[in-house]
Subunit: 267 residues, 2 copies
């Protein structure tokens, strides 16, 4: 999906909600285990319940990989099931030297036709560039994450600034606003202004609103630009809003709640 | 596999050779495509041909993931086929927040029972720790890689030193020499001494000898310690030494050549 279409979808739905399908098999309702593929049945119900409020789905590949072949089958079926006008993210955080990165790009842009994949920056330019060679596909590069460990390296001094600042400006120079986004953890709200000084135009994928405690109003007021250019990801607080027979209704209600929080920011 | 056993295997074989199974399906001999699983048949022949000279196999997961389900099947069969006295590495370079990293640890230590997995450090302590909770399993954390992109961040100033130096000393403090190794690119030989100043006792996984041009003598003389504590990875220069009917014989010859280069360093 290209940038223009993504922005149009966001404006049409008045939503920048991304739902994270971190489908932990130990947390899904027990009645689904009567089906052949409980993970897919769960995702299918969640997608049906949330798609009207949602402009992107983020599949956290780890939860599927941990299930082995079955998990990859569930993941493939889930990706196929997502409506084509909704942006898809493989949250896989891959990163390796050039010839290997090419294989990861093939995995998530071709074998599994996602719109985008999350990428780790530590290995530098040749580990990111292979993801920038596919028309209408995106690399979403880790900038500043929302976990405690972000203090270990990302928030450490590097040259005149902090490491994540160097990562943002350096990685931004390798691609364009049409093929590069950044992961920016919303729970570190005091940093959002700085991020927008450094990369005013790039799309940001913002986790940490919801279960991790980030604040929607701060995020919207600080990080939105004239093209909106943010995707706010919520995973557990939506998909595990309930865990009984009515889990999908509860997810729908949670997604509608986040959607309602976003509407006022669209004029 | 624990540290003691790994060191014993290295001393027994007088070899610290790791063979990288970066099995690119576009590069394997055409006659293997008459079989049901050409990637596995290729790996099986390579393992048979090289195992006497080899103390570790490193499976580069990207090349398997790019083939979808078939690739994961080939990978699982390959892992099963590796003799139990040889150390196994999932070269997957995973890294994510705690609850997701736990899923990756489950993937590569349990669902697929590797001895070790490569891990990216950018997200910090909580992204690495879940890999350190499994007895006799290892996290092999990216320190200094051998690609050009290592100059973008790893070799940039960070505090009093360079970023990779901070990564080595910080990550080393999270685990022990019994559960943590580091990836150190051998082509940057001038840095090997510095690495050994910072982490004298840890095992190093050293790529870049062979196709990438690193020098075995420098590596052995600079990076070996009293427990050997290095694994030198060679991928393409061994597995794609030939590409006709006799590819396995040529791989055997290449592996024996590397093995012969290593023997003099064992007294």
């Amino acid at each position: 999906m290209n940038r223009q279409t993504l922005i149009e979808q966001i404006r049409k739905k008045k939503s920048f909600l991304c739902v994270g399908l971190d489908t932990d098999i130990t947390k899904i309702p027990t009645h689904l285990f009567a089906t052949d593929d409980p993970v897919f049945e769960f995702n299918k119900a969640i997608i049906d319940a949330t798609k009207d409020h949602t402009v992107a789905y983020k599949i956290n590949t780890a939860f599927y990989e941990a299930q082995g072949l079955k998990g990859w089958i569930s993941m493939g079926k889930t990706l196929d099931y997502i409506p084509k006008d909704i942006f898809t993210i493989a949250d896989a955080k891959r990163g390796d030297i050039g010839n290997t990165a090419e294989q990861y790009a093939k995995t998530f842009f071709d074998t599994y036709p996602y719109d985008s994949v999350t990428v780790a920056p530590y290995m530098g330019k040749d580990s990111v560039e292979p993801f920038l060679q596919f028309p209408n596909k995106w690399a979403i590069v880790l900038g500043l994450t929302s976990n405690k460990g972000s203090h270990d390296f990302q928030l450490q001094p590097s040259g005149d600034g902090l490491l994540y600042e160097k990562v943002l400006t350096t990685v931004a120079s390798w691609g364009s606003v049409d093929n590069t986004m950044f992961v920016i953890g919303a729970t570190q709200k005091d940093q959002l202004e700085r991020v927008r000084q450094l990369i005013p135009d790039h799309f940001l994928l913002i986790p940490g609103v919801g279960a991790q405690g980030g604040d929607m109003d701060t995020v919207a007021k600080t990080a939105m630009n004239k093209d909106v250019s943010i995707l706010v990801n919520v995973s557990r607080a939506i998909i595990f809003a309930g865990n009984g027979m009515e889990f999908a209704e509860q997810a729908a209600k949670a997604a509608a709640g986040y959607g309602a929080q976003m509407k006022p920011y669209f004029k």
